[in-house]
Symmetry: C2
Amino acid sequence: MKRSSHTRIVDLAREAGVSAMTVSRALRGIDGVSDAKRAEILALAKERKYLPDLSARSMAVANSELVGISVPTLFNDVFADILSGMRGTFRNAGFSSLVETTEYDMAVENEWIERLLSWRPAGLVLTGFDHDPRIRERLLQATIPVVEVWDWRPDPIDICVGIDHYEAGRQLGAYVRDLGYRRPAFIGAPFGRDTRAERRLNGLCAAFEMELAVSRPAEGNAFEAGLAAGRALLSADLSPDVIFCLNDHIAFGALSACTLAGLAVPDDIGVVGFNGLPLASVLPVALTTMKTPRRDMGIMAARALLARRNGISDRVVRCLECVLVPGATTRPQR
Amino acid sequence: MKRSSHTRIVDLAREAGVSAMTVSRALRGIDGVSDAKRAEILALAKERKYLPDLSARSMAVANSELVGISVPTLFNDVFADILSGMRGTFRNAGFSSLVETTEYDMAVENEWIERLLSWRPAGLVLTGFDHDPRIRERLLQATIPVVEVWDWRPDPIDICVGIDHYEAGRQLGAYVRDLGYRRPAFIGAPFGRDTRAERRLNGLCAAFEMELAVSRPAEGNAFEAGLAAGRALLSADLSPDVIFCLNDHIAFGALSACTLAGLAVPDDIGVVGFNGLPLASVLPVALTTMKTPRRDMGIMAARALLARRNGISDRVVRCLECVLVPGATTRPQR
DNA sequence: CTGTTAGCGCCTTCAG
DNA sequence: CTGAAGGCGCTAACAG
């Protein structure tokens, strides 16, 4: 009188003439079963296509083998890279990941976190630090490890593995300033929601000791946004000598804008990206950019979470280094 | 004597002086609770930060509000688009999605499907038709809806929403052939694993009534692959007059290869992409390509799955149309 | 090495 | 409109 069509442990137990516990132990590779019985049980399980019911297991052990991961968007190789590193690590450890995209919307993230917590996950990974204060409060009290990635701050909810965006901006700015550029401009986030980009901008301002002219594309695809914003900057009467971009995709759009405006890069104007994506290598001119350690970040974040879950490690707060990539879209001035 | 720190239904019940069932009904918005009690219970639940335990619910109702989605990779806006449409639809229906990437590896997919089924999901979405025969067999017997997306065939496991890649290739080929091109070449999949691209190639061959010269980049990033494969084609002595590419990213790389080889596009050679991604619009020259209905595909796939789960609909097999995007990377010959 | 007992939190079913 | 009983499949804890 089975309700579902699935084979259960008791079914195997009955058929093998042992108790359910013995089957459970055999299946999980736990000590306390004779080799003969174990082999027999495993064979039977395979034959009957036994699949454990993970919900039932979750209930019995009061926590699941699920980790929740929230990223702003999947239309961005940055997050694809981070996810790639993270998920591989989780998968190898036997965890499945529930991925959600927030579209840079806090309300979406809130809702998702609620729902996710209902699955009693083993841990939680969030992108950045822009969370609803109430959610933050709640997570501070939670008993599961929480990792914040991509951004860096000394006071995370729990664990943090990221980069210092202000410092990355400052370093990139200093390099370009030292090339002799004097009239920098900046293309910001299409949606004005990306606070990491803002901090990079602050770093740039610090390096140049001035406020940069900023263009913020309304919205839409990154390439198109870069194109539009680039045009806007060039048609205003600021005549920038270098355009910093939120990221490499935007930089590509900006590059197109320059070309279309009849400006040669780097002869007439400089263009600078951020992230060091593979895209940069096939651009007409190799992009000056800052390479971010995305994959490693994902791997480290996942490891830190797992370690904490296993009680091995304490809180981890890591700030990773970026690598300057001097390209051909900038050159010494004068 | 609570094991976890979570508030449970019985906790609320005790505090409200009612039975657990009444709380359960109130929380789920089910008839059979007086308005007064319901309001009181809801307020209490909020105050106590009650979160349902989804594993427990899954067990009780013998299926979860989880759907599994498998895509080859996240480094591709095609799948990001499909996912975007799909997940939005699932989310609105109250489902969480467990997304996995297979990296075009069948073994990975197999393992994932096993694991996923252990969560007793409400449904399953797979990309394409290249599954392990045993898995296919197993899913055919499964009682949950299974959707195959992106590709199209008359005999799916269950539901199918995709495009006819052969036909898309044929149409694109016919258009270019009619422009007067006579020496077409093709850049294929970096990993040789993408059977959809192969069928598009077959369609191209049909349109030109000949075998196309083919270059298959070894592996790596799409842009770089396109660049390398483009170079290979140009340095061989086939002197193609048009290069068809697996997708738009590859086409961008190929475009760079042409430029670097001193060939002007479209004057000296034509380049054709596939997918109609936003990238195409900021390329130096607008790309001739075929626009695929990715987002809609995701939405329709999700809807079909949900409808089937609710017993509303029968099997759905849909073949969507692509839209030819004539660009400036090709032009009438002679 | 093996089995028994009890319970995870929720929901279905059936009785009031 | 409300409640009591029982079970989903699994595993911890405790016997033998």
